[in-house]
């Protein structure tokens, strides 16, 4: 608790939380949402491909997805940490917040074996193993659950 109080009292945290500036909480929150759109959007497109949509495209053509994921994940890590710091004592003690974080980590974790699979695929490979299909299904479900948990925080914890 002492750590959370300290985090929340840092000048940066106070600025994000209390500044009336449009660049404070509103912009941080909006960047977090934009990051979500790119992150979930790009990984969903790859998941759809693995599940059999646009079957004629070789898997190796989707390498760009991991660059988009890396950039948006970095944006959301930074903005997410800022949003956490701004109200550390609230988020740090809320069980629903822990659920959201676990779901985000689980969703991002599914991308690691998917990444290995796609990067190691033959340049012309179009067939998808059943294990990769299973991972894609878990990935889509996990992102949907993470978004749900995140959105509901506004009603359960910060409501």
């Amino acid at each position: 608790m002492g750590l959370l109080v300290w985090l929340e009292s840092l000048p940066l945290s106070v600025w994000v939380h209390e500044s009336p500036s449009i660049w404070a909480q509103p912009t941080v929150l909006t960047l977090h949402t934009m990051g979500m759109a790119v992150l979930v959007g790009a990984s969903s497109v790859l998941d759809l491909r693995l599940l059999g949509i646009s079957r004629s495209i070789p898997l190796s053509a989707f390498r760009w997805v991991f660059r988009a994921v890396a950039i948006s994940l970095a944006v959301n890590l930074v903005t997410g940490v800022l949003l956490f710091m701004a109200r550390a004592t609230l988020w740090g003690t809320a069980f629903p917040f822990l659920i959201k974080i676990l779901l985000v980590v689980a969703s991002a974790a599914t991308l690691l074996p998917i990444r290995t699979y796609v990067l190691q695929s033959d340049p012309e490979q179009r067939d998808v193993s059943s294990r990769a299909k299973m991972l894609a299904m878990i990935s889509i479900a996990a992102w949907a659950a993470a978004i749900t948990a995140g959105r509901l925080l506004a009603y359960t914890v910060a409501g």
Binding site: M34, G41, R151
Partner: protein, 315 residues
């Protein structure tokens, strides 16, 4: 930021409210002539016009809600007459979106088959006919608002009887309706954004060896996200119109959505690109500009939406 009411939204409504009726007549005319002449190209044009009208029906409805707030309480204006007009317009809007959706499905499938499927064109035309009939009734009732001498049909109807009131009641009072719709809205936006990211990146030069036509199967998933967000977005608007009608970022959001929607139509009927089945097609400067405009419009719509509670108007 200048107040949104300073450029009078009621006037914008008087301009846009002609689109669903007069536009429908135009689209119907094109489709009927296309059937008589057996002109496949003209059928596609009729369907494209239909899709554009379905898009513009959104701001037509929304500016109407703004006009309602301006007019209410004024002498000689019947609240019930406005609500009746609004309710029929809401039904008309729903039919029009169904028609626009069917037109899109027909256009998308026509790209795969080389020509529009007869059954789908007939279904789209039939839905358009129904929308036109309901919209004509809405337009008629709209005329009654300012012209009581025409003998309006409104009389006295219990406010709670209207569809808009019922939707609003559920959205405001149910503990889960608003949060659930918001969650679906976020999932829908991610889906649409992801699909358009893939297609626009291909236009901008990524995945160059992938034939453009191979990406075609992704489009319906973008449309699915768009549809989820149209429905949930409309539930928010009908649920709490006052939160939006005097909010500047909201109208900017609708403007960006219209641009993004027009771009989606353009992508659907992107003939020279979709004809590429061997990966030989490269985008021209104009195509690339279009891709940048598309990505910008979606990000701007998202920005305006997320900023709604912070710019100009607090929830």
């Amino acid at each position: 930021m200048p107040s949104i009411t300073s450029f009078n939204l009621a006037h914008v409504h008087l301009l846009l409210n002609h689109v669903p009726t007069i536009g429908s007549v135009a689209a119907l005319g094109l489709l009927i002539v296309a059937f008589i002449r057996r002109d496949e190209g003209l059928k596609l044009v009729g369907l494209e016009v239909l899709f554009a009208i379905a898009l513009l029906t959104l701001p037509a409805y929304m500016t109407g809600a703004a006009a309602f707030q301006k007019l209410r309480g004024q002498p000689g204006v019947s609240d019930t007459a406005i609500r009746l007009h609004q309710d029929v317009a809401l039904y008309g809007f729903t039919w029009m979106e169904f028609a626009g959706f069917m037109a899109w499905v027909t256009l998308w499938q026509a790209r795969r088959r080389g020509r529009a499927a007869r059954g789908l064109v007939v279904t789209s035309t039939a839905l358009l006919l129904v929308s036109f009939a309901v919209m004509a009734r809405a337009a008629n009732l709209g005329g009654d608002i300012r012209h009581p001498e025409l003998g309006g049909a409104a009389g006295t109807i219990d406010t709670a009887e209207f569809l808009a009131s019922k939707i609003s009641n559920v959205m405001v009072n149910s503990p889960w309706a608003w949060p659930a719709s918001e969650t679906a809205h976020f999932i829908g936006l991610s889906l649409t954004f992801g699909v358009l990211l893939a297609i626009n990146l291909r236009i901008l030069g990524l995945m160059k060896r992938v034939p453009f036509a191979d990406l075609h199967r992704l489009l319906p998933w973008g449309m699915l996200g768009f549809g989820i967000n149209l429905i949930t977005g409309m539930l928010f608007f009908v649920g709490q119109p006052k939160q939006y009608i005097d909010s500047a970022p909201f109208y900017w959001k609708i403007v960006f959505l219209m641009i993004a929607g027009a771009n989606f139509l353009y992508l659907t009927v992107f003939r020279k690109a979709w004809a590429d089945t061997r990966g030989a097609w490269t985008a021209s400067g104009a195509d690339k500009t279009m891709a940048y405009v598309s990505m910008f419009a979606w990000l701007a719509a998202l920005y305006c939406g997320r900023m709604l509670p912070f710019i100009g108007h607090a929830f």
